[in-house]
Symmetry: C2
Subunit: 533 residues, 2 copies
Amino acid sequence: MRHSEAAITDWTESLGADKVDASEDTCGRYGRTLLPSGTTPCCVLQPDSEEEVQSLVQIAQKHGQAIYPISGGKNWGYGDACAPVAQAAIVDLSAMNRILKIDAVMGYAVIEPGVTQQQLYEAVQAEAPEFWVDVTGAGPNATVVGNAVERGFGHTPYGDHVRSTCGMNVVLPDGRLLKTGFGHFPGNKTEHHYPYGVGPILDGLFSQSNLGIVTRIGIWLCPKPEAFSFFLIKVPDEEGLSETVEALRPLRMQGVLNSAVHIGNDLRIFTSLDTYPWDVADGETPLPDSLRKKMRAETKLGAWNVTGSLTGTSAQVREARRRLKRASSHLGSIVFVNDKKLALGQWVASRLHRVGLGKALVKNIEALVPNYGLLKGVPTDMPLQSLAWRLRTPLSEAIKDPLDTNVGLMWLAPVLPLRGDDAAKLMRLVGPLFCEFGFDLPVTLTMLNERSMVAVMNISFDKSEADEAGRAQACYDQATQRLLAHGYIPYRSSLAGMGHLVEPGDVFWEVTQDIKSALDPAGILAPGRYIPL
Amino acid sequence: MRHSEAAITDWTESLGADKVDASEDTCGRYGRTLLPSGTTPCCVLQPDSEEEVQSLVQIAQKHGQAIYPISGGKNWGYGDACAPVAQAAIVDLSAMNRILKIDAVMGYAVIEPGVTQQQLYEAVQAEAPEFWVDVTGAGPNATVVGNAVERGFGHTPYGDHVRSTCGMNVVLPDGRLLKTGFGHFPGNKTEHHYPYGVGPILDGLFSQSNLGIVTRIGIWLCPKPEAFSFFLIKVPDEEGLSETVEALRPLRMQGVLNSAVHIGNDLRIFTSLDTYPWDVADGETPLPDSLRKKMRAETKLGAWNVTGSLTGTSAQVREARRRLKRASSHLGSIVFVNDKKLALGQWVASRLHRVGLGKALVKNIEALVPNYGLLKGVPTDMPLQSLAWRLRTPLSEAIKDPLDTNVGLMWLAPVLPLRGDDAAKLMRLVGPLFCEFGFDLPVTLTMLNERSMVAVMNISFDKSEADEAGRAQACYDQATQRLLAHGYIPYRSSLAGMGHLVEPGDVFWEVTQDIKSALDPAGILAPGRYIPL
């Protein structure tokens, strides 16, 4: 405690009182989490420049005071704005929200960590209209950098955010400023054009770690394709999953499918359409099988629903459509939607709506538009709404910040080989566990590259229900361990799960600790984040 | 010297006498280089397993003896098999040449460092015929791992070898074995499917560095496309370069061009067709302008010649052809060649040949076939032949190992933004320098990604000519410094150039030194390689 008080005094002197907040109220606010439990910081710092970050880091060093950087704190369900250890000083970078450059010819932006998805989207629309920003479903207010350093993924051909980041500025734990790639060569011409530089590639050290504070990145924008088509394949049977994966892999391998393809189960979509049907289910959880089938029939959904986009020249998209149709004909029905068709549907729906008809069409279109938009890099807070699924008390308005609600959320995100057998096995491993603990299992299998997919599954719970948080944690722990035991390792972890990833004597973690000791011997930066203490 | 003798004694005991060779003959052989000067080692070690590498590293640590790993030592013109410092023990990994796995469904191979391009090519042909190996022009005997850890590039859609490497085993300088990505999780299913693992990404540390010995990698194979077409655009005027780059960038951005596209000047092709016309040029260097134009006319080449491949489904390739034709019509003439057309040409040539006609056609086809093959991942030693360009005495047979000849070679490989202006500026910066020093300037601009290109330029000289090596070194140094001063940084460096890259006080190199000290405090592993001493 002495540490933090002395550090706060120095920070106040150095940054100014308006950028240091140690009030109980603020600390409580930053300590909120969607996980079953969080940590309360000792104060919150709000630097607005790289220099201020450098100087506050040096003060932290002087006092041996733990600090924890967040870009916006919207790491929903992975720890939110919370540090792994209590009483850290949160370094909130959201005031560093300048877009430093948009290159409308070469298609990249250079941004600070506080820049939100919506902000970059609007700037690119205005200044580089021939490009898209690849965004995630974390909402308009989530930051671009926060997702990139967590190695998140989006929905366009630039969905792999590791591959679309090029050139970083990093404030090291001792206050030095590192420029990666070619960035450290004065006057270099290709800092944001070529990602590897010369000599070892250091960028990877600064994602999913605690080795530096990323204060600036170059991010590649996705060239707007000449043509675009959304597709939806509805696979009627639950057992159709394996076959679906097998049918799509060759198309992904051959580049006919070149962006993130999502295979979501019915529950993934139910959760986005409405909240849990407590009445009809008579309070029982998870969703009874008969009711689930009924809902599936009513919403005309498949047990599995494949969505994605085809992009390219008009002829290329036509060809991709033909190939996809042919490859998926045995799986179920397929629908293609392009801008023209969507506009037509909206027009028809609006006409029908006026005369009191077409409620189903309106609802379907309402659900479709944001997902359709995501595939073109338009931010939306629609996916956030699905977090309300298990709330007992309906919300009066749409979720903007899930921390303002009783939403509880834990993600499981194991990586699987892009094979049908593995997809089927995953369901057998995890399904019964979720059931046992009374949770529904919404799943999306996202083909991240030509050889793997991430299964994104979440435990949704209601924090106002006394026992649900405990059951969520137990279900999460057991599912994580079961998946690890079967070789399905998560691509990313919440604060609640990092401990599961570390076995004593694992050279990998030892090496990360060696590097941590070299760059941050006192361990002041985000102690406990990924790299074990 | 005491160090090395004691270490050699221990190595001999540990590995066996047949794997340790300190003879003058062997050391002399490994000390040969295509650069103006090399270094002679104290001995050569030839481990044949990961365990042997671990144990020899520990012995090096015990004695503080420098070791220098090579996969096959075919790093032509970048230092070959030579260490940056004299009297290092060369660790020649060429006996570790097992192909540990080829997955014919998921399209990857797991290989040891000694595996050659030819070896992997043949194994993939046999076991995974639906895939290609992406190879470089370094010849059938060059290793795959050596190129990957130097971040080389090839010619297919999998040409970026950083992106197509997935999962590494690395022996650290203290003998520990590190598995990157998901590899360190026992029983993991996705070590070679998903490259990033969870926690920081360490792979980048082990390319272009001296932080570990890569003993195994996973390498993604390129799915054989349904259709393939080679293209050649001949741009008549030297001044057409800028326009050419500008015309091709949108196609690369839009994914119409999806593999490495090369823009080579006439000299790049002359050097591959024949040796320097000493007689006609009357001993003068570089090639006189009038003669150069005459040769260009005779060979029917452009001042710039764009080559690459179109791959995809038949309809996609048709579309790409149409687009490329349209976009390049103002640049010059364009030719497409596919397997059918090539076979026809070969058939016609063989007929004409029998009756003593069509010599030009035969020669053109002979020159075309290997380059055509490279675009499909067929190794060839054709590009090695161009190294003979400046030899005064013609060779009696084709070059297999350039070290057996008088070939001298230094590469310059700066990265440029993918912009016409930069390409033109490059030629203005470097052209006059080469001329001044009496060297020809063969250039290939390779579009590595959507935003950058590498200009591959080489100084070819004859080591038997007393003064040429000195002039080559001077030309190299001046050109490198000039390029650096203008912000064009090399993507890779030879031993002769690493010093140019380091300025005192550069935090980037400081951080690499911090990591080096953490992992290799005594500095026994490849001291002086990229990371400054």
